[in-house]
Amino acid sequence: MSTARSISRRSLLLGGAGLTLGIGVLAACSTGTPGSTRPTSGGAGSTDFDLPVHRPFNGPAPDLPGTPDGVNPGFLRYPEVRNLVRTVPEPPGDGRPVTAMTPNWAPARPAMNENSFWQYLNSQLGSDLDVQLVPGADYANVFSTTVASGELPDLFTLYRAPRLPELLEAEAVDLTDHLAGDAIAAYPNLANIPTEAWRFSVYNGRIRTIPLWRGLRTSNVLFQRTDLLEAAGLPTEFSDFDEFLDVAREISDPAHNRWAFANFPMEFLRQCLGIDNRWTHDGEDFVSYWADERQADFFEAGRKLMDAGVVHPDAFTGAGHKERFMSGESVFAADGMSAWAAYYQNVASSFPDVAGTFKIDGTRVFDFADGYDGAPWRGADVLEQCGIGNGAQDRIETVLAVANYLAAPIGSVEKLASWYGKEGDHFTIENGEPARTETGNVEWLNLGLLMNAPFEVEAPGFPDAVSVQHAFQTYLNSDAKRNPADGLYVESLVANGGSLDITMTDLTNEILQGRQDAGAWRTAVDDYQLNGGEEIALELAEVYAATRS
């Protein structure tokens, strides 16, 4: 089954994949325009090849099917080991080490020579995977210095660095000829990545990275403790803001350390007001959501929440909300959807008293009041990408084959091996599902941000976490607004967008906390536009137009 999508008229004219490949080889001799600092495209518009075709994995079916446009397949139970499918017949390595670099958010792992999991993975790969697990919070620094040294490893998690297209052109292998169109069939697990995802990987008209497809998993959610709301006899869905506020009041009890909101439900309120996901795009012009008229309503509503004393006093410190939510100190917490299963797992290990009844869901977006059209937002389908450093140019097939191995999905022998290790040593089968042994827990390498299959939803032992999340994703998929800037690479957005947004977020926080008057907002929006916001909007429109032409 091929869902290849021709994405440019030129490639349509050229026809078949073979020809496209030929052109690609030619084009490789003259890639890039020296001296140009502004990429005119980040999307796929000006390419002259087919994006890699999509050949979905044909293994054990998920209990809850995914959709190609974002819903992650859900596994209520891990597929039975004897049903697993082998996707890589032979070890992909060539005996020489493959270097890699990826952020690691878990405690440090034992080094390779003292790590049987790592050694097992190496034996499966047929090459030592010499991976540097960089503490997550320091990844930006390490990535910068590594780039400066000109020695990016064979496989690396891309950091959203400035001037990315030029960086990749200078230091990463051009993957177009190896992956475009049907060529990707040589790497079946990479072919399992939806074609749509590869749009994120095209820089200056060439495929420079392998995308990690997250689908709806990147969306932000206002989590709610369904168990606590139900126990208090309160509704879990709300018809408008007034009802929402009443429930929040009802459940808050500062004298006993309980506040409805662990952190401030910024995005949620804006969604209820019908504000667009970061940018409003009418097909031509982009307008930042900071400039949306309804931000005034947002502040009014936000102040009401603050005055009602239903927001945790440390809501704005940016930390600790997870603990507050898990312990029941708070009932709502805004967080990434990735946290869903992690909440269940952490509650089980850290809050054993709560674990029996713990139940969460995403809060459905409501219409703020009459005349408002609330709608949820969804995150970008791709966040992480995996680049291949120039040093791997002469053995690119091997390195791609290793990436292919690491991209094996749930239901494959390889995923079980790279995620759980060797049965008996690193995991055992309990109730039909793999469970890590103590050694496994200490030694396993989470390479999920380096290379991954399109994200699945699984949480061994917590089927609820999977089914409820799947239902919420299905809800989002029908209704949620995309950010029209997703997948567009715009230099001014990367260079200035972050700091401009920080300024606006800081002011938002101050207004909500009553340290600044809401009147300051209008001036700030003007400053935002002057200091770069307008430029970003114009450039976005330009790049957007280029990708559609």
């Binding site: 930006a140 945790h312 440390d314 704005f316 940016g318 300024t503």
Partner: protein, 318 residues
Amino acid sequence: MAAVAPERTRLATAAGAPTRRRRRRNWTLAVFAMPGLAVVLAFHYYPLVGNVIAFKDYLPFVGIWDSPWVGWDNFGVIVDGDARFWNAVSNTLVITAVQTVFVFPLPIVLALLLNSLLSERLKRIVQSITYLPHFLSWVIIVAIFQTVFGGAGSISAFLRQHGYDGLNIIGNADAFIALITAQVMWKDTGWAAILFLAALSQIDTELYEASAVDGAGRWRQMWHVTLPGLRGIIVLLFILQLGSSLTVGFEQLILQQPAVGLRASEVLDTYVYNQGVVGGNWGEATAVGLVKGLIGVVLVLGANKIAHWLGEAGVYRR
């Protein structure tokens, strides 16, 4: 006594060893200096060359030498009065001023207090306790302050249970300077006292004895013996502090920026980081760092001059 010692040191050389021997001795000294100087040159000066990127449109992946020259463009942010830049400058200056006034004297006071303790054992115990926080990383200190002083922290919870409002310190831009100053005090006062204690231990006992014989009381001893004994080190540290007055705790601030916002917490060093490493404006960030360094040099040289006028040795004297 102090004033005499250097004279004598000078005499030592003038007191004429034959030229030939002196030359050999000089050479030995150069050998002595070699390892240290080599490290300084290799890791402080050799990389300094990298500051040329202040005049370039530096792209890390192109390299320092191949990035295009842009003249003084990167300094525009300073000249043009960029709002974020000046916000960083003013925060830096305010924080330094507050910390100089409130933090700098504390270790001196602590050292004097400790020095006046009669029991050596007690002195050592107190000292050992007070230097401990120095070893905590900022991550931990920020976390501790948050759990103790946060809006839902230990103190706030206690207040609320007794019918009062909780504290509003953490994440409050208006209380931010007080908060970080308290953190610095808690962390480093005991540690900084070590140098002063070392200096105090060097004060000649005879001076105290002589003044006691002259009938000096405790305060007079402090004024006429102890403090003069500390003057050199105080001046030295003060000058160094001036030199680094544009540098305020990077890690401490960057950890707390998300909570409190950039308006209150952006200082020059975090600005350079946010612009450079995070924002990719390497050239601009380096230009700001360069100017900052130059101002530091001017401040130290100036302060040193003033110290000389006041008859102090200062940081250096040739």
